[in-house]
């Protein structure tokens, strides 16, 4: 047995500090959460309110624009149609809205962070372990404080999804910038580019395939959070899985799970097609 006298109690002060923090600034967070919720709801109502054929048409057009091939276009349009056939259309649109919102936030936060990391070795050495922790820490651990701060609902669900989706974007932005052709980067300097010009004209375009690969991974990470997100009030496909589990309704859980897989395939193919369209011809 480990001696009692050596045990340091961290749990009690952490709980106390958090409760204190919530009491003092909880209202501010709830206020901020309302704005985020507004944007998220707008996206959701757009996707849910749009006629089903329009959504399929937009997805098909997007795939065709990226691949210029009919086979993937038809396959992905059919996959989207399948979501409706499975009776999951509304839930799938809710989940899709959450995914898109999470990815937008992850890119807005992750891209600049990745650029910073590529510039500063020390910041990178300090941040990479934090990113590892973000991906390995069981999500319930940070969901509890998030719940206390934001209340039950879509906003903490978004936060949980973003925390999970963020690391690959940061990592692959950093990687892409570090592996940018040194001659091209030096050429920008040699022709008198400012650091900002160098970043936007040369470094980010060279890193773009890597950044998009990060976005693809982020999609997959985000989708793995769908069920957890449902537990704290994001509805959608995750809720269907949860309902299935709670009622021991195997069929319902399976069908909803299938819906998540279809959504995953959809997002994966879309982002991969973007990667390929951007790096076309470089092989």
């Amino acid at each position: 047995m480990f001696p009692e006298s050596l045990i340091i109690d961290i749990a009690t002060p952490v709980t106390a500090a958090l409760e204190n923090f919530v009491a003092q600034s909880g209202d501010g967070f709830k206020e901020a959460s309302k704005h985020v919720l507004g944007v998220l709801l707008l996206l959701e109502s757009a996707l849910r309110g749009a006629p089903w054929w329009l959504v399929i048409l937009v997805i098909a057009a997007l795939v065709f624009a990226l691949t210029r091939r009919f086979a993937p276009t038809v396959t992905l349009a059919a996959a989207t149609f399948l979501l409706g056939v499975l009776g999951l259309w509304d839930a799938a649109m809710q989940t899709l809205a959450l995914m898109i919102a999470a990815l937008i936030v992850a890119v807005i936060v992750g891209l600049p962070l990745g650029v910073l990391l590529a510039r500063h070795n020390r910041l990178r050495a300090f941040t990479l372990p934090v990113l590892d922790a973000m991906q390995t820490l069981p999500s319930f651990v940070y969901l509890v404080p998030a719940l206390l701060l934001f209340g039950l609902g879509k906003v903490p669900a978004l936060l949980a999804t973003v925390i999970y989706a963020l690391p690959p974007i940061i990592r692959l932005t950093d990687l892409g910038l570090r592996h940018a052709d040194p001659d091209a980067v030096e050429a920008a300097d040699a022709f008198g580019a400012t650091p900002t010009q160098k970043l936007f004209w040369v470094e980010l375009p060279l890193a773009l395939p890597s950044i998009l690969a990060g976005l693809n991974q982020a999609c997959m990470m985000a989708l793995s959070m769908v069920v957890v997100a449902a537990m704290i009030g994001a509805r959608g496909l995750g809720e269907q899985v949860l309902l299935g589990i709670q009622r021991l309704d195997t069929g319902r859980a399976l069908v909803a799970g299938l819906g998540i897989v279809v959504l995953a395939i959809l997002l994966d193919r879309l982002t991969q097609a973007t990667v390929r369209a951007v790096s076309a011809g470089s092989k």
Binding site: D183, A184, A190, G192, T194, P205
Partner: protein, 275 residues
């Protein structure tokens, strides 16, 4: 308009954690003629260049020759200060490059010294035209004017046909021609070329070398070409400098070097060129 003379005097580049602290020791060892390896072991600092002094004549095609690790690329980068020398002075025409502040240095690079790279350094997904227009665009020229100027340079090099092609679809020889066009578009009187033919096959190499010589007859820029290939040096040069162990061993007209090589190293390099 002929290019300006370039003068490097007492250039030292020192890589390591505390160059200022190591400098007196490095200087003392350098005066005794110590090798770079010896200085590295003794001080923990690697001198890229050691008290290198070189005067390049105005408007000539100068070749800086040396083996790998001799410091020749570092020397080239001191001219537009991609590498900032620890000690010494670089003078391009009337401009003291070592004394320029950030803004003045940027202006100098935009207007006075263009550069060509061994592995081209082009933007792969952009068209040849956009790549050539790049130096003008970052200097603030509006797109239409920049593209017109780029089109004119491409036409001069016979590259009209590939102007719209993405660079990654071009052959190595074409890529380097685009790289050369990009360096000519700013009308900079100094052209710095870092092993520009190193990545080309022998036949293309010869063709691009001839094109450079042809262009130089009209342009009379001060061209500095880095190479480790003695054949190339003798083919191109109006003026040759030999760099070894971070120092300029000898410089002068090719036949002057042939007649009186300063040491065995120079003699061996020139002999290699004639076989």
């Amino acid at each position: 308009m002929s290019g300006p003379p370039i003068s490097l005097s007492g250039i030292t580049v020192l890589y390591g954690p505390k160059p200022a602290a190591a400098w007196p020791r490095v200087q003392a060892m350098a005066r005794e003629g110590a090798s770079i390896a010896a200085i590295r072991t003794a001080t923990g600092h690697v001198p890229g260049l050691l008290d290198a002094t070189l005067d390049l004549p105005a408007g000539s095609l100068c070749v800086v020759m040396g083996l790998s690790g001799s410091g020749k690329s570092t020397l080239l980068r001191c001219i537009n200060r991609l590498v900032t020398p620890f000690a010494g002075r670089v003078q391009v025409g009337e401009v003291d490059v070592t004394a320029l502040d950030v803004a003045a240095l940027r202006a100098f690079r935009r207007t006075s010294a263009a550069m060509v790279f061994q592995h081209f350094g082009l933007l792969p997904r952009r068209s040849a035209l956009e790549n050539v227009a790049f130096p003008l665009r970052i200097a603030g020229k509006p797109p239409a004017a920049a593209h017109d100027a780029a089109r004119a340079v491409l036409a001069r090099l016979g590259l009209d046909a590939v102007a719209g092609e993405p660079v990654e679809a071009l052959s190595a020889g074409m890529k380097q021609r685009v790289g050369l066009a990009r360096a000519l578009v700013t009308d900079a009187p100094v052209l710095l070329m870092d092993e520009p033919f190193g990545a080309l096959d022998p036949i293309t190499r010869r063709a691009v070398q001839d094109e450079l010589k042809g262009l130089q007859r009209d342009l009379r820029k001060t061209v500095v070409v880095i190479t480790h290939d003695p054949h190339e040096a003798l083919r191109l040069a109006d003026f040759i400098a030999v760099v070894r162990e971070g120092r300029v061993v000898q410089s002068g007209a090719p036949d002057a070097l042939m007649r009186a090589p300063a040491d065995d190293h120079v003699a061996a390099l020139l002999a290699a060129a004639q076989t």
